[in-house]
């Protein structure tokens, strides 16, 4: 990990880590990997325990009242931090892009929502774009392909940042997908409400992954990764699935997403 630029005020590097509800529940390792990467880059990281979920499930289902109730808990928890970082394009996009809309007509909460929104970043984008991190010290033997999550790509502008960091991982060879811009079919509740359409999209994604012959697929959003891993297992494939933070932090010494525990 490179040294952080000297001109950055150390007090300003206080980061509130938004673990995300999926990582909290499914894959704590992703939260700890993010924590490690941020601390290695010189941040002082807190994990405010008032956090639960960003509220996206309700927001995307048209339930704005529920979304606001949940969003307020996030805003209250993260207001003290100069930076809010999440290992997810989708959750950071919710906070950064959608919170201001969610409270657009609420005179009391609007400014608070906007303040939190403006300080919220996706993990790999924060490391590279804000902290200027160029390299990590990690080893991952194998060929990997990368799935760009739609919200990371289109809401948070995350495309080159994770790839830039992956370049410094020893032993790792990146093989790009044919359709890098294609949705994996997760879409939150969409995957449960329209299983046939969603299933078709994720099986197309898995076919694209298979054609790279990479032995691992990485991504920056656990929602997509659960979807992809779930489909790969259903197809009987053994392609490993990790969050990019786990690889960058050299924390891949555990079963990948959806893998049986062989210990």
């Amino acid at each position: 990990m490179t040294e952080v630029d000297e001109v950055i005020d150390p007090n300003a590097l206080r980061v509130g880590l938004f673990v995300t509800c999926i990582a909290d529940l499914y894959r704590p390792n992703v939260g700890f990997a993010a924590l490690y990467l941020l601390e290695e880059a010189g941040c002082r990281v807190d994990v405010p325990l008032g956090q639960t979920c960003c509220g996206q499930p309700a927001w995307n289902s048209g339930d704005q009242d529920s979304a606001r109730v949940v969003a307020k808990t996030v805003i209250k928890s993260f207001e003290p931090y100069p930076y809010i970082v999440a290992p997810s394009g989708s959750c950071s996009g919710m906070i950064r892009i959608h919170y201001p809309k969610l409270f657009a007509t609420d005179s009391k909460w609007r400014a608070r929502a906007e303040a939190v929104a403006g300080r919220c970043y996706e993990l790999t984008s924060f490391l590279t774009d804000v902290l200027g991190v160029d390299t990590v010290s990690a080893r991952y033997e194998g060929s990997v392909t990368y799935h760009d999550s739609c919200s990371g790509l289109r809401e948070m502008g995350v495309r080159e940042q994770p790839r830039h960091l992956l370049k410094s991982v020893d032993g790792l060879e990146l093989r790009e997908l044919d359709e890098r811009d294609a949705c994996c079919g997760f879409g939150g509740a969409f995957s449960v409400k329209y299983p046939d359409i969603s299933g078709r999209l994720v099986s197309d994604k898995c076919a694209d992954i298979a054609s790279t012959q990479a032995d691992t697929v990485l991504g920056g959003d656990l929602g997509c990764l659960l979807n992809i891993a779930g489909r790969l297992r259903r197809e009987g494939k053994h392609t490993r699935v990790f969050h990019v933070a786990e690889v960058l932090a050299d924390m891949t010494d555990l079963p990948g997403v959806g893998e049986d525990d062989t210990s």
Partner: protein, 474 residues
């Protein structure tokens, strides 16, 4: 046409299992995407043009009354007639009236989505007129007794083999008894059959890509030239256009044409771009004797200034359809009405109502690619989400899991209770799963496991581990 928006789920499932359709879709999709990308990459100022195009359409919409009246005045000055229709029904009656007054028996048509919206063919045929579509794709689906599955490639769902059989069946009456299998032979055969129709029709009906206020011109973009024959050969030319097609002047037109063809087919310009200024003038060698423009509102003026206002910027290029993963998987017919894909999901929900089309706003992963490629940058995902919010408030049929969301919000806004519950959930789940990494059932989310397994949580929750390893913070 029969509206089947209520059967979206069933139609989508059928489409996914329809091998012929899947073959046609798989063939069409990469072509559209790659051609557009190539054309856009070759034009560094494309994004600047998009911004201009957006400003032009917003300006026109902000002064819609002025430009529509100006357009009308210029059409009249050129010797044409403008008819105003509030509804599809009114527009159909106007067109029937024109056909009747002209003593017409046969009508030829250029491709027009507005005519599809009006179900114009049914109306004309119901009055005993012969109607022949002249756009090749439209002609094919007319023979198949279907409707367009794509707004610029109406027969995108048909394979060449199906077209061979359709022509074989319907062209025997014209002495064409050979099964043609090559694209060129198929096109030649259609051309030869259509030639007589062009020459003998009484009325030609076309749509309009744009209406130019400063000159009264109606602009038509095609790749087949059929629009030009339809407009100039019959005695009467009728243009059907929605009111949101009007733009101020020719400068604006050139900007819009540059983004339209690139976004639609990846061409720099379409093969034929024609400006029609009205009926034959004294001394002209050809052209219709009568020229009519039917301007249709059909709910559009109600969108002006609303949260769905931006939908009126749409120039019907089809880029959102071509890049939509859902459209790419199920094709256009499953959407159940005239307009499919992202723009169709919004327009149909608005025009028919979300009760009539409960699934369209919801059957989208909100991946945002439509918004990314839309030349007019219409915020389609935002609108789909807004439609969901409207549905949720109204409690209509599209709303599912309302109670579950409220229960979830109750927990998610009480961190201590939430974390206690998730810890317990993970513990039970892990115990049930044993050492397996996935489960094949999903409590409360059965749809998930129809086509994939559900990964099992890693172990204790992050919050549990954090508290243990770092103690409480804050």
């Amino acid at each position: 046409m029969k509206v089947t928006t209520q059967q979206f789920r069933e139609e989508a499932r059928k489409a996914l299992g329809d091998e012929i359709l899947q073959r046609a879709l798989a063939k069409a999709k990469p072509g559209f995407i790659n051609k557009r990308k190539k054309a856009v990459d070759a034009l560094p100022e494309f994004d600047a043009l998009r911004a201009d195009a957006r400003a032009i359409t917003e300006h026109a919409l902000a002064h819609l009354d002025y430009y529509l009246e100006r357009f009308e005045a210029n059409v009249v000055a050129n010797g044409g007639v403008v008819h105003w229709a509030r509804t599809a029904d009114e527009a159909n009656q106007i067109i029937l009236g024109i056909c009747e007054a002209a003593g017409a028996h046969s009508v030829i048509k250029g491709k027009s989505m507005i005519a599809e919206e009006m179900a114009l063919n049914e109306s004309l045929e119901g009055a005993g007129l012969e109607v022949v579509e002249t756009d090749l794709g439209e002609y094919i689906i007319q023979l198949a007794e279907e409707y367009p599955s794509h707004i610029i490639a109406p027969a995108a769902h048909k394979t060449r083999e199906q077209i061979t059989e359709l022509f074989y069946k319907h062209h025997r009456q014209y002495g064409k008894t050979k099964r043609q299998t090559e694209p060129k032979a198929l096109v030649d055969e259609a051309r030869s059959v259509l030639r007589d129709k062009f020459l003998n029709a009484d009325v030609g009906i076309t749509g309009a890509n744009f209406l130019v206020a400063e000159s009264g011109a109606n602009v038509l973009v095609t790749n087949e030239g059929n629009g030009d024959l339809t407009s100039t050969l019959p005695r009467v030319h009728i243009v059907t256009a929605a009111i949101d097609k009007v733009i101020p002047d020719l400068e604006d037109l050139s900007t819009l044409l540059r983004v339209l063809a690139r976004s639609a087919t990846g061409q720099e310009m379409s093969s034929y771009t024609t400006l029609y200024n009205g009926s034959r003038r004294p001394g002209d060698l050809d052209g219709p004797e009568e020229y009519h423009v039917v301007l249709l509102d059909n709910g559009r003026s109600a969108l002006l200034g609303s949260e769905f206002h931006e939908m009126l910027r749409c120039i019907r290029c089809g880029a959102c359809l071509n890049h939509c993963p859902v459209y790419g998987a199920i094709g256009g017919h499953a959407y159940g009405w005239v307009y499919p894909g992202p723009m169709g999901a919004v327009l149909t929900s608005l025009m028919l109502g979300t009760d009539e089309a409960p699934d369209l706003a919801n059957a989208c992963s909100l991946n945002g690619r439509c918004n990314e490629v839309c030349p007019l940058r219409i915020p389609l995902p935002r609108m789909l989400r807004d439609l969901r919010a409207i549905q949720f408030q109204q409690g209509g049929r599209g709303v599912r899991g309302k109670f579950a969301l409220q229960v979830w919000a109750f927990f998610a806004s009480r961190p201590n209770l939430y974390h206690a519950s998730t810890s317990l959930m993970v513990k039970v789940w892990r115990r049930l799963a044993g050492k397996r990494g996935v489960s094949t059932f999903a409590p409360f989310a059965g749809g998930w496991t129809a086509h994939r397994d559900l990964p099992v949580p890693e172990g204790k929750t992050f919050t549990q581990r954090w508290k243990r390893e770092r103690g409480r913070t804050q």
